[in-house]
Subunit: 223 residues, 4 copies
DNA sequence: TAATAACCGAGACGGTACGTCAAGTCTTCGG
DNA sequence: CCGAAGACTTGACGTACCGTCTCGGTTATTA
């Protein structure tokens, strides 16, 4: 996957890499960022925590950024949504799954670190782009199935719409500084279906659709 | 504003702070990030460029992050949209203005740095939240005016909808790594009006609405 | 004396200098060096302690070095030994007086600071030389009186002998890191009288000559 | 030696320290102090000159002071005087050797820095005491040999006498601000032999004993 | 079975930036 | 003009982190 040139399957001569090192390193990154924040994720700290040497880490990932991308991907990796026969159900599925991933402790910091490292020029720009692209593939698939089914208007631009779908949860997490909750997911599903759907198809859906009930506090526009 | 405790108006005893220092410093940050990227924004470099000493900078902002937040705010500060009588026009106004700000060179890097610094606990967390909140106020105002006019459905949650409006441009910039263009703005206006508008009101708008034509390359769902 | 251009007796126009400032500053230097060591003697710290402003200090002494010299001189200033009619008695007087001064708390640090600042080229080199010269004048006088009396050999070089007299106490203090005690003074008086005296005149002196009895621990060549 | 924990002979795991770094650093200190004075001895300057990184220096010596002590010791390290069979010859040997060391350019500044750093409490106090003690050991040996030979009076206190021997050269250098010359050495040898020797043994020695003739200007007590 | 190649832990290394501190100067107000 | 207060420049300090390199030593595949 991203960063780690782990496809060493040909097995040349010499001592093979120990899987333990790879696993312990990624785990250490997650633990550190969760427990002590982004600033604690030092290569030395990771090495010490994972009981691994720094060269062993750099043999696997070419830079700190690449390592963090790899760690992030264990949390918010690509998703595949089965054909549920209904655009609304599939969008809900995507948003619910992503929301759950984002709610895991430490994920916000991991993503923030990612965003920051991607803004630098020299670095892991390409790897980051790949990562993002993989994360949006699922959404594009859902939208395209919707077009095929006739649920989604044909004049909807897939790329723009995919951005509209993927953006809000991340924005809530990183820009607004809050965990995305069920309430937001419900609202978004409704808004997005209306945005991309056929004018007639925006009918009132299932009554009482609160699924996982993480929290629903703060309902209502005017308090 | 964020970071700089600028309310020094009471004038106690002693030599007052020179406004020149504050201004030159912020300007130097913008110039450096624009011309040479985030990595060039060193405190020493800023000081040298602004012809100012490091202690003078640290007297104003407690850390590099706080300085960067302050610099970012000079770029993407709050916005006020006049009542244009039409939700579609007002949304277009908001997105166009934001898009223009994001397209300024260096802004992406500045925002990325902001996001990263906000994820850390000890630091400028509160200042960052304030900053974001101010940036979303404009959108909430537009939506509320839409409700008042009857253009926006009353059951639309303002907060969720505001997130849906504000998120895509930033996401395009930071996550997808591209500048938001006219194409995206046009698509978003259309999608958002359908998302929040009355079912009937989603009528075909003005024919031929490409306004500023920054770039429109890459049209079409399947390239 | 050294450094302070205090001879402002002509009284030009404007507010006259307050004696309080000069005194409090010197006192603050002594207190700080005594209580907290050399490193605590900061111009800001001195100013704060003396309740005086930095410019007021710099109006009196041109540099930190000059201030420290002035402060040191309040401790180990020049000495005048009356004619006691006997070289041994006069040498004892000189060494006892100096020893007492060196034993005051903080003096070692003050002198060390002096030595260090004198080694720098640009600074208060001349003022320091004057200071040292004044301190050795007393010894030269004593030796010359000894020659006049016929107690000291005429072929003794005054300058070399003066160095031999003045050096040991300071060396014990700064190089060996111990306070000079009565024991050392007694031994030195005996050794120095033999060194400069007429061969016959090196007779056994008064029996039981321990004067002030500060401490006499550690007697005997082989412990 | 002082400061550098050089006894790394056991060779633990990890990359061993490069001797080149240690050597080049000490050399750079000497060169800088010689050519440009104490004020030029900046850690950055030393690092640059030695082509070594600052952390590498701080790995060896805990502070700037410790580094300077170590550098000083390469100049004025301990001395061993062979048994010359004569107290006068041995004293001359000690003083001549020390004098030569003190006359090396930069040594005065190095020693001054040493004295200053020793006056501070927290720092390299112990290392400095050791350094001084080693430097005086040679003198104590000479005196003890003199007692054994019967040249030195048995009631002479070795410690006091050693201070009397060691002090004048350093005092001339640091307090009077002049390089010790042959003249001073000659005078001191004569004075010291009389001070510690048997009353009869203070006979006039070799006639015309000016050895190296570095400078002999300023002879004569009354100009 | 030996050689060889790649791995591993430990830690030193160069480089670069950080945030702090002190010296000495300058600027404002008030006496 | 003096004095208090405090901002200012300059320049060095000691620390932290990144990514690399160098040890001694281990583990597998090849010869």
């Amino acid at each position: 996957m991203a960063g780690a040139q782990t496809q060493r399957t040909e097995r040349g001569p010499g001592r093979p890499r120990q899987e333990r090192v790879t696993d312990a390193t990624l785990e250490a990154v997650i633990e550190l960022v969760t427990e002590q924040g982004v600033k604690a994720v030092t290569m030395d700290a990771v090495a010490a925590r994972a009981k691994v040497s720094k060269p062993a880490i750099y043999r696997r990932w070419p830079s700190k950024q690449a390592l963090i991308i790899a760690a992030a991907e264990t949390r918010v990796g690509p998703l595949s949504v089965p054909d549920l026969g209904d655009i609304r159900a599939e969008l809900r599925e995507v948003l619910t799954a992503r929301s759950a991933a984002y709610r895991l402790p430490g994920t916000a910091r991991l993503l923030a670190e990612l965003v920051a490292s991607a803004a630098e020029e020299g670095g892991a720009r390409g790897e980051y782009a790949d990562f993002t692209d993989r994360m949006m593939a699922e959404t594009r698939t859902v939208l395209q199935r919707g077009i095929a089914r006739g649920e989604v208007r044909v004049d909807v631009d897939i790329r723009s719409a995919a951005t509209l779908v993927a953006a809000p949860l991340v924005y809530r997490l990183l820009a607004e500084g809050e965990l995305p909750n069920t309430r937001l997911v419900d609202d978004l599903v409704d808004l997005l279906v209306r945005a991309v759907g056929q004018p007639a198809a925006a009918a009132p859906p299932e009554p009482g659709n609160v699924t996982s009930g993480i929290d629903t506090a703060g309902r209502g526009n005017k308090p």
